[in-house]
Subunit: 299 residues, 2 copies
Amino acid sequence: MSYVLAADIGGTNIRAAIVDAEGSILTEQRIEATLSEPGLSAEEMLQRIVNIVQPMLNHNIKAVGLGFPGFFRGTSGILAASPNLPEIKEFALADALRTAINIPVAAQNDALCAAIGEHKFGAGKDKQNLFHITLGTGVGGGLILNHAPWTGESGMAMEFGHLHVAQERLCGCGLHGCLETYASATAVCNRYYEVTNEQHNAAHIYQLACDGNNIAKDAITQAGYYLGIAIAEAIKLLDLHTVTISGGLTGAWPILHPIMLETLNKRLIPPLRNRVEILPTSLGDQAGLLGAAAIAQNQ
Amino acid sequence: MSYVLAADIGGTNIRAAIVDAEGSILTEQRIEATLSEPGLSAEEMLQRIVNIVQPMLNHNIKAVGLGFPGFFRGTSGILAASPNLPEIKEFALADALRTAINIPVAAQNDALCAAIGEHKFGAGKDKQNLFHITLGTGVGGGLILNHAPWTGESGMAMEFGHLHVAQERLCGCGLHGCLETYASATAVCNRYYEVTNEQHNAAHIYQLACDGNNIAKDAITQAGYYLGIAIAEAIKLLDLHTVTISGGLTGAWPILHPIMLETLNKRLIPPLRNRVEILPTSLGDQAGLLGAAAIAQNQ
């Protein structure tokens, strides 16, 4: 039996797992490691990844896959840039790691990995095309077209969280009205705080909504409404039939889904209506990790 | 030397041309023919097309390509539906015409044909990916991804004219704020009429703008502004580098292009800025016709 080592690299921790060919996770670790330190050089970052990955390797592990928060050049494993690591440009991350640990390595954008995981093992399994959305602190996603990841010409496709859905809120990117400021878990928490002056995480706000708290329900409904608006724009361009969503906010699916689907269909031209299904991830919080496993398996 | 017969089918007329392998047009005809008659059956429509195409055939013509205002199932030549011909559903147009005239036939959506023409012979020649916009009575377009036409899962991709760019104007589709109501040649004429009570075509309005008429200039500038907004949404999703535009309003390029490009870059997240070029068609009004020729050549 052959296995791969999959790693989902975040700003302050790395999740790493040994995964078999069917996408079953044998062991999983979460390791604290700061990789979003301003000024960190490519070599220092690489060394930190090596330090974590190397001890987990054994002779049954045939390849390593990395999901990384940055823009990659196609499927080359070259990290063009990473918003949190301004010093690093055009770094051949996969090649450099392969040289260091001496087994095949693949690396790809973390949100695109989530799409790949969902397509290979999850709710979008075997769909020819998939529009995958990640709903967490931010809103991102990945696109699968004709069974292949779509990276875009600069590795920056699916900046879905920055679709323009309203006028008001200022986004971290400097623009106003980005979807992310209305539909991320953070946005739901902010919205609840604005009205109540109480700070809770999205899971707790969902629980409050289930218990009959209308302010909590409205905060989640607003997220679903703006998601519906943004998904409509994507469908009008690409005419896809399957949307999947992963990330913490999918815990609020019973409130999120109906308003999202209703708004989507209202905002489509009539012939496009009622063709799209929106599904929650079937992989819990492991879509990204399993996508990293899938790109490793392709090595 | 082998040739193809290309036909661009409109509601009230058909343009047909004999085209060589390099995309040169040998002869072209414009024939009046009503194909958007409500109640027209598939068989009647087919017969009208046969009546026009058959007399133009000769033994040097190896295939026929049709650009048709409707939704096609992939590259099968099956017309799923056509907004102007509500009686016709799932009609195997290419196969039926091939049976009638006994040479290979390809058929595809007319706006996608314009994209194919631009990609094969025009301003987007040999680009791996192309986002093509048609600016005429309406706003449409076609998408080329990895050198192949992207039809969408229901043949309805690139309903670009129905991206939502504002709140106010009511579109023919029943929604408010569609790009088409702000950026088509019709929209430019309407805008000028609203302010001046004078009716002119878009070419004349452009001439007035060149002569210093600020109302005319503003009407065209508004179209460019909203085009920039809508193109930004597409680029945030797909991260493409080349946009081409065909259609009558490209005649106003010196006014249209600067505002469009400026707005596009303002509305992109910073890392996506200044990567996209927007080019006018190099095929005049023949992009659709040459796209029909290209799909015939592929037969």
